[in-house]
């Protein structure tokens, strides 16, 4: 039958059919089969801005490995960018607030959208809590509306299995969060600067800093919990809470969805410099290093990803002529992109052996890590 159709109808018909099945924002429950974080985050934003604002909506998705940081965070402070690049893991600024999280296929994301008037962070956390409890796990919600399991002697609080963040615009709001089922917690720790590495003291941001929490996977408490099971549990809890009796709308990343201009634009915007780095709140990065020829302290002041100034202090024994050259180089960083400095615009001495190259390599390495 299908073969016969393909023979009978011209190719243009098939593309027309694709558009006819284009996704609509009017369902109540969506489960994405895509694992592309750029697609899923853009789908989420499209649903947020286009669904009827009175109707409760649920979206569930998983992403392949990536680091996702909050709307008003500093990627250089929160993410171990060098480790992320080496592991081939992208880092993405999302549109909601809050701190930095790690996603991989062992982590399932939920997103509950509601009218702003009835939005209550505690109530939505309870829906997810009921789903976790239905899987036979004794969980609780902490004061930041994160889901925790168990209590440990070393910690007054339980271990996080989930983190949450919110977006509120016009008459709509969402609560989304991660649920750790079987995530690579070792990679999570490597990529998130979880161990209070030096950046906590050296980068001072006016933006939002992550609250570090010890984490556990749900599978540690019940080894049989997998993605599909968690998805069903959340769907059931959502249906019960909001009296929804609709089937799941399965979303695929295909022409019908990436053909939606809003989604396509969102997918292009997320990895752009303007969004990922250009939206970084004002910060100061203070660096110190001793070279054979003297000691330097650099204070790089940046806003929206642009270097506003690089103030250099040298120790007393640096030759005055050299000091002037070093300060000249620091001055030339002004108005360049932080960590994306155009090296061709710097004096040629940064490419020849000597103190200027030492200083430039040091600043470049520090900014890029």
């Amino acid at each position: 039958m299908l073969l016969a159709r393909q023979h009978l109808w011209p190719a243009s018909f098939h593309s027309a059919r694709t558009y006819a099945t284009a996704l609509r924002p009017t369902h109540a429950i969506y489960v994405s089969t895509s694992t592309d974080p750029y697609f899923n985050l853009s789908l989420e934003d499209w649903l947020f801005r286009h669904a009827p604002h009175r109707a409760p909506l649920l979206l569930l998705y998983r992403d392949r490995p990536c680091v996702v940081f909050g709307r008003n965070q500093n990627p250089w402070k929160e993410v171990n960018l060098r480790a992320a690049r080496e592991a081939g893991v992208p880092f993405i600024r999302r549109r909601s607030g809050g701190g930095t999280v790690y996603h991989d296929l062992g982590n399932t994301n939920f997103s509950i959208h509601l009218p702003r008037t009835s939005f209550d962070r505690h109530a939505t956390a309870q829906v997810v809590l009921r789903a976790v409890c239905a899987l036979g796990i004794d969980a609780s919600v902490n004061d930041r509306n994160d889901i925790c399991v168990g209590t440990y002697k070393m910690s007054a609080r339980g271990r996080h299995v989930s983190g949450s963040a919110y977006k509120i615009v016009n008459n709509r709001a969402y609560h989304h969060g991660t649920m750790l089922l079987s995530t690579r917690l070792d990679l999570l720790g490597d990529l998130l600067r979880a161990n209070k590495t030096t950046r906590q003291d050296t980068i001072h941001t006016k933006g939002v800093e992550s609250v570090r929490s010890p984490v556990r996977n749900l599978q540690q408490f019940n080894p049989s919990i997998v993605h599909d099971e968690f998805v069903s549990a959340v769907v059931n809890a959502f249906r019960e809470e909001y009296g929804v009796d609709e089937p799941i709308c399965t979303v695929e990343e295909d022409e019908g969805t990436t053909g939606i201009e809003y989604i396509r634009t969102g997918m292009a915007e997320l990895p752009s410099w303007d969004w990922a780095f250009g939206q970084t709140p004002e910060f100061t990065h203070t660096l110190q290093r001793t070279f054979q020829w003297g000691e330097l302290t650099a204070e790089i002041h940046s806003k929206h990803g642009i270097i506003l100034a690089c103030a250099l202090t040298t120790s007393g024994n640096v030759d005055p002529a050299l000091k002037a050259q070093l300060e000249g180089l620091a001055g030339q960083l002004k108005e360049q992109k932080y960590a994306f400095v155009d090296e061709a615009a710097l004096p040629s001495a940064v490419r020849e052996q000597g103190p200027l190259r030492d200083m430039w390599q040091w600043l470049k390495d520090e900014m890029q890590s």
Binding site: N72, G97, T117, S118, A165, Y166, I168
Partner: protein, 159 residues
């Protein structure tokens, strides 16, 4: 819902307090020959427009701040920026909740409230006064008139 009711119960206060700020004396305000207009957007910004200076002072509404919770970060546009109605000109974050600030009208940003960088909590404590966001020199005053009246805004919040 609770916050919507609060907004409804104090409309007059908003208008007077928001409008009073640029002039120290209420007496001067009453006898002044120019007009101040209070308008709202669907994105929960309020604008007090002063037709003597053609400048609109932008706030987030009391309803917006109460549903956001404790504001920990405010990002404002740069002074001198030209903005078009509907552009995203800033961001607000409360505990883990991000919200966007949109330009209610087109024009040039003449002043921003620099105090918010160190005291973002002013948006909660004094959304209608000390928590003002920025001033925009308005290109086309008809854009102000086209925004929501207080009554229409109240209806929008309850919608």
């Amino acid at each position: 819902m609770f916050s919507a009711l609060r907004q409804v119960s104090r409309p007059a206060t908003y208008a007077v307090r928001a409008a009073r700020r640029p002039t120290p004396s209420v007496g001067v305000f009453r006898t002044a020959p120019f007009v101040r207009t209070l308008r709202f957007t669907e994105d929960h910004e309020a604008v007090v427009f002063d037709d003597s200076t053609m400048t609109g002072t932008v706030y987030i509404t009391n309803y917006a701040q109460s549903s956001l919770g404790d504001v920990v970060f405010v990002e404002l546009p740069a002074e001198g920026n030209k903005v078009t109605k509907g552009d995203q000109i800033g961001a607000v974050e409360s505990v883990k909740a991000a919200s966007d600030i949109y330009a209610p009208v087109s024009g040039t940003v003449t002043e921003v409230n620099a105090g918010l960088a160190d005291q973002p909590g002013l948006l909660n404590k004094s959304p209608e006064d000390q928590g003002w966001l920025c001033k925009i020199k308005v290109e086309n005053p008809a854009e102000i008139e086209a925004l929501l009246t207080e009554e229409a805004y109240k209806a929008h919040c309850e919608h």
